[in-house]
């Protein structure tokens, strides 16, 4: 091999850049939506200023969780990988795929968490009396939206740490099959978390909004939110299954 050990390094650095680059886009957008709605809420209800400010900060922190996952993955891609000269094309493809998986996978969840946080700020500005229950509901909804980001993180870790080295005496066709299977796994979980993350964020936002309007129906709203979010997540789970199959079951 002409490239030798440099091949894995090149792709790891490329993957790190892709990962945190794509991941930062909607993390910023999500936090921005929350801040905007929070500022508007302070204008509408200056008495509840402290409560809205607190909700805004906590919501932004929760919306940035997926971005922090992307940061962790790219740090690990830069510093935390044993560079093995025998890694070859298998490792190279797996590192790029890990970056793609986590980068794309943090897009949907942070957008969804941003929507949930913004609706919670709006709702608290309308009903400051029920601020605590609205904020609790917002946090649970954002945590549900982040579960698909956790799936992307799992796939990225598996791609980084459990892919075998490229064996000697292997035909070129096998190399292409295995490498593209890894990239396919990254793309599957990356795009697959986009829709569910955003959808669950929409559910959580609607639930926070309604909890401010009809605070007596708290338990029923929360239960519907759990169920709806759990069912919306199922396509992300199918993507996880396909990614596992592509990593482990393709010979």
């Amino acid at each position: 091999m002409i490239w030798g050990s440099e091949l894995a390094k090149i792709s790891a650095y490329l993957g790190a850049g892709i990962c945190v680059g794509i991941g930062a886009v909607t993390t910023g957008i999500g936090s921005g939506i929350i801040a905007g709605e929070g500022s508007f809420g302070v204008v509408k209800q200056p008495k509840a200023q402290e409560q809205i400010f607190r909700t805004m900060l906590i919501g932004q922190a929760a919306a940035q969780t997926a971005g922090i996952f992307a940061l962790v993955i790219s740090m690990l891609l830069i510093y935390g990988i044993p560079y093995d000269a025998a890694g070859g094309w298998f490792k190279a493809a797996a590192y790029i795929a890990a970056g793609l998986a986590m980068g794309l996978g943090s897009v949907g969840p942070s957008l969804g968490a941003g929507y949930a946080g913004s609706q919670a700020c709006k709702s608290i500005a309308r009903m400051p009396k029920y601020g605590n229950s609205i904020m609790g509901n917002m946090l649970i909804g954002q945590a549900l939206a982040q579960t698909s980001a956790i799936f992307a993180l799992v796939v990225a870790f598996l791609l980084m740490y459990s892919v075998p080295n490229q064996p000697d005496n292997i035909v070129t066709g096998r190399i292409i099959i295995k490498s593209l299977a890894f990239i396919g796994a990254g793309l599957a979980i990356g795009f697959g978390t986009l829709g569910p993350g955003t959808g669950i964020g929409f559910v959580a936002g609607k639930a926070s909004d309604m909890m401010g309007r009809y605070p007596n129906e708290k338990s029923k709203i929360m239960r519907t939110m759990f169920l709806g979010a759990a069912v919306s997540e199922s396509t992300a789970i199918y993507s996880l299954v396909i990614a596992f199959l592509l990593i482990f079951a393709v010979k």
Binding site: V72, L76, G80, P82, I140, A143, L144, T147, I150, F151, L153, V154, F157, Y161, S162, R223, F226, L227, A230, V231, E233, S234, I237, Y238, L240, V241
Partner: protein, 303 residues
């Protein structure tokens, strides 16, 4: 009324002291602290070790491949007699991962039985704290069952409560810092079995309440249900989605706790991370699994 002091601060302080002591004892990455039973003796000792994240992940999550690759005798954390007994059984062999999973499941089962027997024995009209906790769990789940299935089918409650308690204790037991302890739900076989069981219960109850022929017609008769093929795939995907949801969340939490805590040298993060992934995600996922198992029944036989 006198203001009560908040105990959370005290607990956090105790955690910090314990963790900093542990870090001080264990030195750094190049040395590993080991506390546990080895050769029937309780030991606390340092081992010089070269820290390797990849090795650690594969040791934690792909234990059989790890020992097959490294070719050393596996650490079983003090129960080699049972392992030998399993090994001498007339089956093919007992890999370490399966053995540890079976042991954890057994521990969880015994724990549930002890809790249930204790609660049952000390049942009083003036309930103490544990009784109140379990009455809240039972009462709220019973309310959900009545809401979903109707008042005449309240006898589904014990099944739902048992499912919830089992999953909850399974997700919590990884928090106990004993070497070799892990969440049984981290292994795919446990959630898959439970998901299959819950879908089987859905169909058995549907056959019981609607009649066998009336129910099976939905899946074989193209006149009555033009999308019958899709429904069959949908039933299989129900099993897949309900079980992989639990598995993925618990596995993800375990991987994140391992990697991040080894990056920050086991000081601060594990407390917060275990709080989030262990208690919060564990409880929510146990609840979601239970509610989905209940609602699948409700869609088929609800009034």
């Amino acid at each position: 009324m006198a203001k009560k002091k908040n105990p959370i601060l005290k607990i956090c302080l105790i955690f910090f002291v314990i963790e900093i002591a542990l870090v001080y004892l264990s030195g750094n990455f190049s040395r590993k602290l080991e506390i546990g039973f080895s050769d029937k003796k309780f030991v606390i000792r340092h081992i010089d070790s070269e820290f390797n994240l990849q090795d650690k992940i594969s040791e934690e999550f792909q234990i059989d491949e790890y020992y097959a690759h490294h070719g050393e005798k596996p650490t079983l954390w003090g129960s080699s007699k049972l392992y030998d007994f399993f090994d001498r059984m007339p089956f093919d062999s007992t890999p370490v991962g399966t053995f540890q999973l079976l042991r954890m499941l057994l521990i969880v089962d015994i724990l549930i039985m002890i809790i249930v027997i204790l609660i049952r024995r000390f049942l009083t009209f003036k309930p103490g704290k544990p009784q109140i906790l379990f009455e809240i769990i039972y009462g709220s789940l019973e309310e959900f069952v009545v809401e979903t299935l109707g008042k005449d089918k309240v006898y589904y409650t014990p099944y739902i409560v048992t499912l919830f308690l089992f999953l909850w204790i399974c997700n919590m037991i990884g928090l106990i810092p004993i070497p070799g302890f892990m969440e049984p739900t981290r292994n795919l076989n446990v959630p898959l079995g439970l998901g299959f069981l819950s879908v089987v219960i859905v169909h058995v109850s549907a056959i019981k309440f609607k009649g066998a022929w009336h129910h099976i017609q939905n899946y074989i008769n193209p006149v009555k249900n033009p999308l019958f093929l899709l429904d069959i795939v949908g039933e299989i995907s129900k099993v897949v989605s309900i079980s992989f949801r639990l598995f993925g969340n618990i596995l993800g939490g375990a991987i994140i706790i391992l990697v991040v805590s080894s990056l920050v040298s086991f000081v601060v993060f594990p407390v917060g991370l275990s709080l989030f992934f262990g208690i919060f995600v564990g409880t929510i996922q146990a609840f979601v699994f239970t509610m989905l198992a209940l609602t699948y029944i409700g869609v088929e036989i609800g009034e």
